[in-house]
Subunit: 237 residues, 2 copies
Amino acid sequence: MKPSVVTIESTGHFCSDCAVRGSAVCASLDAAELRQFEHLGRRVHFASGETVFSEEDITTSFYNVLEGVMRLYKLLPDGRRQIVGFALPGDFLGMNLSGRHNFSADAIGAVTVCQFAKGPFGRFIEDRPQLLRRINELAIRELSQARDHMVLLGRRSADEKVASFLLGWRERLFMLNAPSDTVSLPMSRQDIADYLGLTIETVSRTFTKLERHGAIEIIQGGVSLLDQARVEALAAA
Amino acid sequence: MKPSVVTIESTGHFCSDCAVRGSAVCASLDAAELRQFEHLGRRVHFASGETVFSEEDITTSFYNVLEGVMRLYKLLPDGRRQIVGFALPGDFLGMNLSGRHNFSADAIGAVTVCQFAKGPFGRFIEDRPQLLRRINELAIRELSQARDHMVLLGRRSADEKVASFLLGWRERLFMLNAPSDTVSLPMSRQDIADYLGLTIETVSRTFTKLERHGAIEIIQGGVSLLDQARVEALAAA
DNA sequence: AAATGCGATTGACCCAGATCAATTTTGGTC
DNA sequence: GACCAAAATTGATCTGGGTCAATCGCATTT
């Protein structure tokens, strides 16, 4: 979907009371640095379905997700799509070598990001190895997740893929805030399919199968984990 | 395979005439720093099939590949294997967050690495942001490769997987040294299968098919690219 | 409350790639 | 150069998940 209305808030927000203060890149900054940092970023809102940046776009900004969920994906020339990850509040996007993004990102539901212009942000990092170290840390974590996902894509069955996805997603939501055995799934079945390397039909059938076996209950906007042990068994660690 | 004979050379080597001087982490160091750096690493040899480190091992060292090829892989409890990458000279291994490796690595053929103890290396980085930046650069490059590989694993057909693999591997060898349309494949068919998320039979059949179509010739220890355009077409970039 | 439209589900059928099972080729080794 | 073991190839068959094609829900609009 193409961008339509983007809202930019210029003022009125402070890093010190930012929701992702503790988990994002900025976690590595002290109070004084944070005040300077504040002037670098601006909050930007995206409506559901809007594209935040596209693969092969020149990188002009870095983004810190504040609210909402984004899908990160790559397309093949013939339209096949692979979702390489979902971004949640606290995730940092935009790192690259070539000066171009190497995946596209769009909003699933309403999204707020903290946007940093590349130049000023780069200069700010320059003499703050702490921040660089933090960014490195995030990159290494993502790398580890990426490798786990390769195992899933290359070597797991459809049942295992869906079960691991549910557990992994639940875990990520848990890390953020809401402890809950009802797992909210803001993304579409097609998104899940493109994340797991399956078709939408297979994802749907697998959900239904899990429900028939009493492992989950499919509810509005998500699922309820009824029998976590069973789902874990299916995920086959 | 378990470690058997590991040869350690304590002296007699200098970073300044190291084969990977220009491409590895050390590329970010100046002559003076290089002399200090020299004392941190030691060259270690591994014989074919030996394991350099295993997943879940406590990280005690970082490694810089100097010579040879390594397979990097993860295993599922039931033995299914996914190769998450191949390491070539210049590659840097061992970065992680948890203090444990998140994949295993073993030698394909004879391998020489430059091994750094975690502590001293960490301290050396401490006040050298240049080096940290270099490591970050390498991590980001790997992340980009990992995402490309997710697309391959999740959304490409067997033919496309094999064709892209051949082109990608040829490209990596090209970057290193030997410009050549004969592509050396030091890894086994099983390794290729576990890298591409296929079975050994499918890899073998696809090679044969490519050969029948005149796109490649299967030779001792590799293949010869006869019709690169055709292979590229199959890879469907 | 009927109409619309899109996401999700379900069913019927198919096929790419897995599995199972022999060979064949290659590389050592005595 | 005969022998053996491991790797690779090839063939026959099977099947998990894809493809094609209807519905089925709902939420939104009129």
